[in-house]
């Protein structure tokens, strides 16, 4: 690829992120919702877990630890939910970005420019990273202020590292839905289904050893399973960067597989949309 064009596409990617963030800033009420949900949803599960364990009965916690590898129920659940919200944001992200352009009527204008198709797919979703970081901060504060759990500084830094390392794989999954939007328009029900399936398969609120063996094999092919496990290892078991290397290798491999599949699918569906005239419809 021509380096000058690649550099111009990269600048355009940044511009798409800026455009999206500028638009977001003009709806400040959205930020309020992002404070409540990351706290409320996991807190319900933590309180229910406490109730089931008789308010922290050591025998119950030992039983949990034998399956989850930790007795830190609060952090276990919060990390799972952080993953769930991140998953929701990124699965919706590229598809939503294209869908919004389609419904607004600006998708054709964007597709009339010489920019790479990856820019409208991923550029506007750069804002999602802001959301993800914001949610992580809110959740960290909730764990500390509501449940009295202080997270280790090194663990927090490594969590951020894992979060960023997992972005390519997560974006690759999200772009599958982006590709589908081009051809089919509304793909909300499909995203809902996949999000539900992944929340079950990837150990959001429970350890995946609780799943049947065949389901565990599927879980291991999903990037979120590895990311959530790595973050729990860091925050609950004090894993070091060296311990995370195998997980990093798996995530790179899954990113390549999902990314490659997404690129091929995107090209096929974009060509189909150009044949059927779907780009201009909504």
């Amino acid at each position: 690829m021509n380096p000058a064009i690649a550099a111009a596409d990269l600048r355009a990617l940044g511009a798409a992120g800026r455009m999206s963030f500028r638009t977001l800033r003009r709806y400040p009420a959205n930020f309020i919702g992002q404070i409540f949900w990351p706290v409320l949803l996991p807190a319900v599960w933590v309180l229910m877990g406490r109730a089931y364990s008789g308010g922290g009965d050591p025998q119950a916690l030992d039983a949990f630890a034998s399956r989850a590898g930790t007795s830190g129920v609060t952090v276990f659940v919060f990390v799972g939910y952080a993953m769930y919200m991140w998953l929701s944001t990124l699965l919706w992200g590229p598809g939503t970005a294209l869908r919004q352009e389609q419904m607004r009527g600006s998708l054709e204008a964007v597709f009339l420019t010489p920019v790479s198709r990856l820019v409208p797919l991923f550029g506007p979703t750069l804002t999602n990273i802001v959301w993800v970081l914001f949610q992580l901060v809110v959740m960290g504060l909730a764990v500390w202020l509501l449940f009295g759990v202080v997270l280790p500084v090194q663990g927090i830094l490594l969590t951020l590292l894992v979060t960023f390392a997992g972005l390519p794989a997560m974006y690759a999954m999200g772009s599958l839905f982006g590709a589908a939007v081009l051809r089919f328009g509304e793909v909300g029900p499909a995203v809902q289904f996949v999000r539900g399936a992944l929340s079950l398969l990837c150990g959001i609120t429970f350890p995946i050893v609780m799943l049947p063996a065949w389901a565990q094999a599927t879980s291991n092919a999903m990037p979120p399973t590895w990311i959530v496990a790595a973050i729990r290892d860091v925050l609950l078991r004090g894993a070091t960067p060296l311990d995370l290397l195998p997980t990093a290798g798996v995530l790179v491999a899954l990113s390549v597989v999902f990314g490659g599949f997404a690129i091929v699918l995107f090209r096929i569906l974009e060509a189909s949309a150009r044949r059927s005239g779907m780009l201009g419809r909504y």
Binding site: I5, A8, D9, R11, A12, G14, A15, A16, R18, M19, R22, T23, R26, Y27, R104, G105, S106, E108, A109, V110, F111, L112, T113, P114, V115, V119, A271, R274, R275, S276, G277, L279, G280
Partner: protein, 338 residues
């Protein structure tokens, strides 16, 4: 070496299938039995550099589909399209880099951003180098006379201002070819006039403009050449003056004749002695006749004589110069807005 034409189209065809094929039908490889709709039917077209070329036709004639294929948004079913000498199928990205297009007007903008923010975003998408970006944006805003409102949110703009901003966006890549789909539709007369002035300015700058419209006055005033399109086919292509000469008349006379039905053919035959009857329609007790003639001064008295002798009354007479609408009626047998 001579420059290639701005647009060269040979045998361009677009066929849409009506309805959807289910996944089950695809998996079973059942034959595609969907009804076909030919939107563009073997068009040949050549637009020279520096001209304003209009594609005129009623809604659904295939104008927009043609433009969308030129702009790489829609894949032709068959035929060849070269834009500025570049094959749109082989090098769509190169075509887009040299093309300014305004296809979906005001809806294609980000209303929650200012005009300048909109153009900053699209300048990046058009790969305008950062160094010259500000100057390019200022020039585009000045070209559409929006410089003083550049930092207002687009949601506060009028429809005409949004159309002009969409035009400014099309100018960002400094394109030699600008394509405009119904640029003045929905605008008030002043805003439409203003936008037409901007289009003329584009020609003065040496750009080629290809536009679609179903306003014949607009096509007449703006275009160097016009292709009249109907049912996906070009039915005539020439300068506005040459197109109007085709109907061999100077004036168009519309008559409303009050008379009982049954005597229509007799009076029409008498009128046809002094003019070409382009159209006749009966509404209740009135026969509406559109006639093309060399001189209304000669035809109208003859029409009154004919009506009197058939026991009819002429209730209304209107005389106008020949327009492209009349050309369209003579070619297709129906009016542009039908």
């Amino acid at each position: 070496m001579a420059l290639s034409p701005a647009v060269e189209v040979v045998g361009l065809t677009k066929v849409f299938e009506k309805g959807r094929r289910t996944i089950w039908q695809r998996l079973r490889r059942e034959p595609d039995k969907r009804e076909k709709f030919v939107a563009v039917d073997g068009i040949d077209l050549r637009v020279e550099r520096g001209e304003i070329f209009g594609v005129l036709g009623p809604n659904g004639a295939g104008k927009t589909t043609t433009l969308r294929m030129l702009a790489t948004l829609l894949e032709p079913t068959s035929g060849e399209v070269r834009v500025l000498g570049v094959d749109v199928k082989a090098n769509p990205r190169e075509v887009r880099a040299n093309l300014g297009a305004m296809l979906s007007g005001e809806r294609s903008l980000y209303w929650k951003l200012t005009a300048r923010e909109n153009l900053e975003y699209f300048a990046a998408l058009y790969h305008v180098p950062p160094k010259g970006q500000k100057a390019r944006i200022d020039a585009a805003l000045a070209a559409v006379k929006l410089g003083d409102r550049a930092d207002d949110y687009v949601e506060r703009y009028s429809t005409g201002m949004r159309q002009r901003l969409a035009l400014a966006r099309a100018l960002l890549p400094d394109p030699p070819l600008v394509i405009l789909d119904e640029p003045t539709v929905g605008l008030d007369p002043q805003a439409a006039r203003d936008l037409r002035d901007r289009v003329r300015e584009l020609k003065r700058q040496g750009r080629t403009v290809l536009l679609t419209t179903h306003y014949m006055e607009e096509a007449d005033q703006l275009c160097d050449r016009i292709a009249i399109i109907d049912h996906g086919q070009i039915v005539a292509l020439d300068t506005p003056a040459a197109l109007k000469r085709r109907i061999r008349a100077e004036e168009v006379v519309t008559l409303e004749i009050g008379m009982p039905s049954g005597a229509d053919s007799a009076i029409l035959a008498r009128l046809a002695n002094t003019a070409v009857i382009a159209r006749s329609e009966r509404h209740n007790g009135t026969l509406a006749v559109t006639a093309h003639c060399a001189s209304a001064r000669d035809f109208v008295p003859a029409a009154f004589d004919a009506a009197r002798s058939e026991g009819a009354t002429i209730q209304h007479v209107e005389v106008v110069p020949v327009s492209l609408e009349d050309v369209f009626i003579s070619l297709t047998g129906r009016a542009l807005r039908e």
